[in-house]
Symmetry: none
Subunit: 190 residues, 4 copies
DNA sequence: TATGAATGAGGATTCATTCAT
DNA sequence: AATGAATGAATCCTCATTCAT
């Protein structure tokens, strides 16, 4: 049991699950995508459901880890937000398929899977809230800012912005410039 | 064939589809929920897929129509935005189940269904863009505002805000006060 | 309950049953074909199966009655056989659809229906055997002729001959000349 | 996937299809008859329809191949015809069930299946016509014989003769003596 | 008497999972 | 460890039959 084969299965699973949905996805197709036999999958994962969960965890971890790295770099809050937008876009591009499931809380899943995912999602909130706190401390953001609301606004805007650009305008991730959106959020509509 | 039975089936479908997902939903359960026989559904809808599409259309129309009504009332832009947030929250509350599928582009569906849904979604964008234009004309919003970006920010913020409050904080729709969020969007983070 | 509506249902049934088979036939289509509501059929027939049986009886009676009439006319055995062939062809043409089921013992049916049909079929045998007996008495046929075998040969030949001409050569019933076939049977192959 | 299991499925299919008809046959029963799971059938055949077609093909090929072998043996035309009758009877006995469907053009089937079956049927005609031609060349049959008509007469007579003996008189295949029938066909009725 | 909306038993087919190789 | 043939539970959909109008 090489770890490497495990990852290949997870990647194939991501492609198939996001294309066909949980119930619509067939183990056979995942096996083909990973170049293994159907039975082999069961050497690494107990069931389809378990495989699905592992795929989500795997991808969300990748997302969070990357996001954290992006925010670690010393920069102004505006630069951080642009980095955050770009990272999100790049990730969306790389995992268009998974992202559709992972990025949203609206997905359609066995109830029990939900809780875990929501908790993971909180991880992302925490990261962004951290960034905002730092911004306030540095005086880059007004100090009466409601950090929770700001996080929600940022996450919502990112999702809609990149969702529209990639899925509707069909733009490549490299042709999307988030700076104006970031400016607008920072300045407000008035 | 009464129209009324058609609607009952759609409502039952909404509950079941959103709880179990498209593939996970069982026609039997939808039938039970609508208090009709399995076969009856097929007198009104050609297939599970068709029923799903009709449910989406039905709900999105209800959403758009209501939203339009809310924005028609003469008020300041801030009041309109609060109305819009509240309407969204109320709708989410009433149709928690459907909303999860309708409000998001992440659902898992036969490809062809997508286009139609995206186009419907644009309807909502247009409505909100209309509101923003009016706000600029009235001088309530700055005139260099990028209307498209602002719409995306508003829609994204609404989704995240009410999603968090309802699904995560488990608040009732009546206990959610969107005013601070609206203020923040209008003023910006700086 | 007019007798006339009963017959229309039987005729529609004949068309649909023979086109789609017993199990493949849908009561709905039979109703449409007879220009009545689905429920109406059950005013005349107890069940699909009963309707099928009645259709068979109806058609076989028509066949036998017509055949008897043809053979009653005073003529030579050869003329009678030609008449018999032509009548069969005409009937096949008029009821192509039913004939496929009625004329053959190979049809696929609930076992219990079989017996009755076989017995009806014997009716046809009896008629033809009667004709042959008469032919022997009149000296038109050799008196050591095995009447049963001859009947089988005649019935088999008719079926194959018209089946081939109508279904395979796609000839119209009026363009089929059975005289050579009759001659061949009478003279033998040697 | 052993070829042997394929054949067992075909045999079970033959039994069930001919007993219950195409639409009446249940895959479950075929599976039981072949001692396999329902799903297994679909590993070998795409659908019920495909299975049906394959069963027909399989059986018709067996029939034609056997018939050809019988006629290859050097003998008089009368002996050949007796052989042909006996072979037909033996086959009918062995495959009573399938034969009912295969031997007749009256079965109830998706239109497209028909063409192929008719074409296969022609194969049998060709074989018998070949036998007749040879008989004429050898002077065993009169040289003005219409080969097509004679073929039709022979095939029709065989079908009726064995059909009557086996299905109606309930005789075993070994107790049926076709010689008198052959003689009658050769000598004619007069 | 006629209708057709409603019903639900029934059956073809799919696919997660197992297990002999 | 890896495979994929075999399995049968599960589910969509059909259609004979009923019954309120």
């Amino acid at each position: 049991m090489k770890e490497n084969k495990r990852v290949e299965i997870i990647n194939a699973a991501a492609t198939v699950f996001s294309r066909d949905g949980f119930h619509g996805a067939k183990m056979e197709n995942i096996a083909k995508g990973a170049n293994v036999g159907k039975g082999t999958i069961y050497g690494y994962f107990d069931s389809k459901e378990e495989l699905f969960k592992e795929m989500i965890r795997h991808t969300m971890n990748e997302y969070k880890d990357g996001m954290e790295k992006v925010l670690k770099i010393e920069r102004s809050i505006k630069e951080k937000m642009i980095g955050l937008f770009k990272y999100h876009g790049g990730f969306l591009n790389k995992h268009v398929d998974i992202a559709k499931v992972v990025m949203s809380e609206q997905e359609v899943l066995p109830r029990e899977m939900k809780k875990e995912m929501i908790e993971d999602n909180i991880g992302l909130f925490k990261i962004i809230e951290g960034m905002l706190k730092e911004g306030i401390e540095k005086g880059e953001l007004r100090d009466d800012l409601d950090i929770e609301l700001a996080s929600l606004c940022i996450i919502g805007s990112i999702s809609q912005f990149y969702g529209k650009r990639i899925f509707f305008d069909r733009k490549s991730c490299d042709d999307i410039y988030p700076e104006p959106m970031v400016d607008m959020i920072l300045q407000g509509l008035k």
